[in-house]
């Protein structure tokens, strides 16, 4: 049956992705007609919960959308609110360097913790031929222990700066509740130095596995900080701010988001689907970031990227694991640079007064651009909130990619095909629980 011309494949619960979802493939006369990712985790109504709250509350509330990337939610929300209230804008009140440094440093911790989780615990088992990290640990104990130690180094940044590794409590509109001392940050340096070396070794290791062939040329979208906004010594790989750029030539401020991107509801999924206004699909995430900003990596890391096979744009999604490893090295390197440059702010936060209107903010979550928009009334109460997480933006592009991928692998039986599809999906590190959602595979071959 499974080798007949018409078939249907269903994966009813995707393993090793965050959240719950399914995948459905329709095949007729040996041609893949449709690939649907079905997201059945219920929508989480965060946007509605934010209405009626004050402009100071989103960092604490939106942190709860994700246990892996809470800082992304906090800082995208803060960017939106501060830009509306005239903080850090060209004609507004400047944000002290120390606060900017702490935010980026905190975010480095989140990239490390999230990328290491994905590379070693969710994705590496695919390449090394294991069902999961637990089975892999039996043969590769050192690898798993190294991964856990790397994650811990990231979590420590979150704890020292954010006050808690999951859902940090120290982040606020205007800055922080308490700014750590230089000494507190410097205590982390030895472990971060170890982490940078370990991450370099890890990048070489993951670059050495065999990657299935797949070459795709989607539209990539990411942030890119303006050159003249960069503090001395920074190379400006995008993390906590930037303009919105694509490889199709878009280069606009975040406030122009609604003119270029929108979300639509599709029947097979409870997550909204992101599209460009012209109807095209696009991809956000490590590959997009890297392809659009490789020139913003410090020379030493650019050399490493070239050495591990990423001298050019990365167009094989299976190689995204290598990009994540390069970004992990960068996050350690950048954390060390930031600690060295740290100038403890005189006050941990600047005062932010509410302004009525609509503000837009975005940051590079580990999985790609995370966009927030808030509308405030005169009293600073939220009347409308929009949150567009990376996976919902990627979903239509993932479906398109999978269609090609399944077509090329139709000769496989259903079990083998399912295994391959799950791997292909994990390339994108979809994280389905973020207010949007993810996997089960069904393939119908008719």
């Amino acid at each position: 049956m499974s080798h007949s011309h018409d078939r249907t494949i269903s994966v009813e619960a995707l393993a090793r992705v965050e959240g719950e979802g399914a995948m459905h493939v329709e095949v007729a006369d040996g041609r893949v007609e449709q690939v649907q990712l079905r997201i059945y985790e219920p929508p989480r109504f965060f946007e509605a919960m934010l209405r009626g709250r004050t402009y100071l509350e989103p960092p604490d509330i939106t942190a709860r959308i994700c246990g892996i990337c809470p800082v992304a939610y906090q800082l995208s929300a803060i960017n939106a609110i501060e830009s509306l209230c005239g903080i850090g804008t060209p004609d507004g009140m400047p944000m002290p360097d120390g606060i900017r440094q702490l935010r980026r440093l905190l975010y480095c911790g989140e990239w490390i913790e999230s990328h290491v989780l994905h590379i070693f615990l969710l994705h590496a088992p695919d390449f090394l031929g294991y069902q999961g990290a637990i089975e892999m640990a039996a043969d590769h104990r050192d690898l798993v222990e190294m991964a856990l130690r790397l994650r811990k180094a990231g979590n420590q940044l979150l704890e020292v700066i954010g006050g808690r590794a999951i859902h940090p409590i120290n982040v606020r509109v205007g800055g922080f509740h308490r700014a750590p001392t230089r000494t507190e940050l410097q205590e982390m340096v030895p472990e971060l130095l170890w982490g940078r070396e370990a991450a370099i070794a890890a990048a070489r290791l993951v670059a050495g596995v065999e990657f299935p062939d797949l070459d795709q040329s989607p539209t990539f979208a990411s942030l890119r900080p303006e050159q003249d906004s960069l503090p001395p010594g920074a190379t400006g790989y995008p993390i906590e701010d930037g303009r919105l750029v694509t490889n199709s030539g878009l280069d606009v401020p975040i406030a122009a988001w609604p003119e270029h991107f929108h979300e639509e509801h599709v029947e097979h999924s409870t997550a909204l689907h992101g599209r460009m206004t012209d109807g095209g699909t696009y991809l956000v995430g490590p590959a997009a970031r890297f392809n659009l900003n490789a020139d913003r990596l410090p020379a030493e890391i650019a050399d490493l990227a070239a050495e591990v096979g990423c001298a050019e744009a990365v167009t094989n999604p299976f190689r995204s694991i290598v990009v994540r490893a390069i970004e992990t090295v960068y996050a350690f390197d950048e954390a060390l640079r930031l600690i060295d440059a740290y100038d403890r702010p005189e006050t941990p936060a600047v005062e932010v007064r509410p302004v009525a209107g609509t503000g837009h903010g975005a940051t590079e979550a580990p999985r790609g651009i995370l966009y927030h928009r808030y509308t405030l009334d005169e009293e600073g109460l939220i009347t409308d909130a929009v949150i567009v997480p990376p996976p919902s933006q990627n979903q239509p592009a993932i479906e398109e990619d999978l269609l090609e991928f399944v077509q090329a692998h139709l000769h496989l039986d259903d079990d083998a095909l399912q295994w391959q599809c799950e791997q292909a999906i994990r390339n994108y590190d979809p994280c389905i629980s973020c207010s949007t959602h993810f996997l089960d595979l069904t393939v119908r071959r008719r």
């Binding site: 709250r53 509350e57 709860r64 006050g163 859902h167 409590i169 509740h177 941990p348």
Partner: protein, 99 residues
């Protein structure tokens, strides 16, 4: 949770800085994390056993001049439906919407 604050040697953010804090009515266990970072507790561990939320609210109203809508929001967050917090948030709601 105030006990954890004392044990940790935190300065009381409510007494010293006038920062609203739900510590007196919140379940201990986090080692008074928020006060250690100079902010008030927002009650994420949920209500303590037999909390006196009404007395805390009265203190916040009198000493820190907190207004009703802010009290509603304070008690109506991560544990909005825990009985002690639900009751307290409702008490500060305007009549029309308090159903």
């Amino acid at each position: 949770m105030c006990v954890e604050c004392k044990l940790r040697g935190n300065l009381c953010v409510a007494g010293a800085h006038g920062t609203p804090c739900l510590g007196p009515v919140t379940q201990a266990g986090c080692n008074a994390r928020c006060p250690a970072f100079d902010r008030g507790c927002y009650g994420c561990f949920g209500p303590a056993e037999s909390p006196n939320a009404a007395s805390l609210a009265a203190w916040l109203e009198e000493e820190l001049a907190m207004e009703h809508p802010d009290l509603v929001r304070l008690f109506r967050s991560f544990n909005a439906d825990a009985p002690a917090f639900r009751r307290e948030s409702r008490r500060h709601e305007p009549e029309e919407v308090a159903t």
